[in-house]
Amino acid sequence: MLPDKKGHFGIYGGRYVAETLMPALLELEESYYRYRDDREFQEELNYYLREYVGRETPLYLAERLTQRLGGAKIYLKREDLCHTGAHKINNTLGQIILAKKMGKTRIIAETGAGQHGVATATVAAMFGLECEIYMGVEDIKRQSLNVFRMKLLGAKVQPVSSGTNTLKDAMNEAMRDWVANIHNTFYIIGSVAGPHPYPMMVRDFQSVIGKETKRQILEVEKRLPDHLIACVGGGSNSMGLFYPFKDDKEVEMVGVEAAGLGINTGKHAASILDGSVGVLHGSKTYLLQDKNGQIKHTHSIAAGLDYPGVGPEHSYFHDIGRVKYTSVTDKEALDGFRLLTLSEGIIPALESAHAIAYTMRLAPKLDKEKVIIVNLSGRGDKDMNTVAEVLGVKI
């Protein structure tokens, strides 16, 4: 079972943090192990996942999309129908219940697109805990709607203006806050990234996606799918879908990274495809870095993919070949965005549109009996400003 006792997935993962944080991580790990198999904890989590988030989410056969692409049968795992509009809440709910059990009274989180920030502010409001969200000033500009939502939910949004003013810098600042306020503060990391036990814990909380999917597809198709497709930034929605299928060798899994303006332009966020191994934010993993080990600026039209690293277990899955990683550009993602919107009446998040875009490439090449499942990780409402700008429309 991975990770090992010290949080390694092969050579990846681990706990590369300052000593001040080590005791907090050890405490978190211990608490998590105690509660992850605790019936009462699981019942509480399942109750809220059902009654509050609206699980289980449908596995929807996208007939029009299937027809348009003229190949494999395409199912969409509808995480966009989760409360708050994305899969992020599966994890924030798990972590905040853990925080409560640990007696922490204050919640902090980092956010890029603002989806994780909103999902954190939401559960903090529900459980009545103080909440502060760190967000790069660049992202605050791009995602003003989500900033407003977080504020409405009672969270304090802390603008971060250091480095590249985006997600990675927000994470640095959240870590700095955590170091200073360890005694009462719980840090809810939003992806399968960060130091151990976060990659494992977030994976476990998001695995509800894959577990449901497996049950659902076996029910309707009486067999496992041939392909799973999901976008990969930090990699939480893809890990959530993939993990329960990892031992089903017949299922091919594809992680779609953000190629931005094109891998060869250097303006992208494809950490696995174009990165090298390094250490950032507490774990060893593939990173976009220069030859001196400085972290590079990244670019993606999808703010939620705009991160220079990737969860360590993805790096491991890449190396052992269990998951195939590929990429699509901003432009292709927009094509996916339009196709899904017009063919199915579902406006996807730009992140999820990356998975759709790859499906457009793959599905026509496959026989009609083949089954593809795409993780539709979020809905596109948050991206209206970005898309309107690209289309040259003023709203």
């Binding site: 010290k6 681990g14 706990r15 590369y16 943090v17 300052a18 000593e19 001040t20 080590m22 005791p23 907090a24 250091s162 480095g163 990675k168 810098d169 640095n172 870590m175 700095r176 170091v179 200073a180 306020n181 360890i182 005694h183 090298s276 191994v277 390094g278 250490v279 950032l280 934010h281 507490g282 060893k284 990173l287 870095q289 030859k291 001196n292 080990g293 400085q294 972290i295």
Partner: protein
Amino acid sequence: MTRITKVFKELHTNNGKALIPYITAGDPSLELTKKLVFQLEKSGADIIELGVPFSDPMADGPTIQRASERALANNVSLRDVLDLTGEIRLHTEIPIILFGYYNPFFTYGAEKFSRDAKEAGVDGVLIVDLPPEEVDELKVYVDKVGMDIIFLTAPTSNEERIKLITKKAGGFIYYVSVTGVTGARTSLDSHIEEYVAKVKKLTDLPVGVGFGISTPGQAGKVAKWADAVIVGSAIVKIIEENLNSPDMVKKVGQFVKSLKEGIVRSGVKYQDLTPQI
């Protein structure tokens, strides 16, 4: 015996305490860093901590973050810091410790770094985000060439962790006096004395205290309890305030001299209170 250990031995014999100033290499330029190091030594520094700039300095407050950004604006790399150390080493025997984050070291390569650093005259390395659990991948090579790895302990570290740390540590133990990032504080944490005593009970290594010390008075107070006083942000702030001033090096020197005097003054009192047997 490394230069670090030698300095502590000598100080110990004379009942002195070490002053360890920190500056970021390449802030605002490698040329000035060199001048600053010589000035620091002249002003009473016993060991120098040279920061290796990193794009994501998670344990640093705004002052040292900005220093790192200034150095990176000049593209200062770990290789540059090693070359700089080599040039400094031609003129002085003062121990030099590299202080930084793991990724630039990892990317450079643990084995190559250890070899090149030793050759340049580096005496020790402190990597903030490389705790004892993860250090072995670097330590095998650092040990081979005979440099020290310095570790942090924090107010949150319990006895078990301190033991784990001291088992892997060389040079001295760096006690982070605050639960927080680097940067000047108006007052010192009241538990420093107690904590330093706790660490000293568990190791023969000298114990230095850093994070948040910014005045000669604070330096003097800490010197009563610890073997070394580490001051970073307060010095970097002077550099920052004098980026275009021809007096930058002089002003840093004056401040470091005042820190040293703070330590020496408290040392005299210390001796008065504890008669030598």
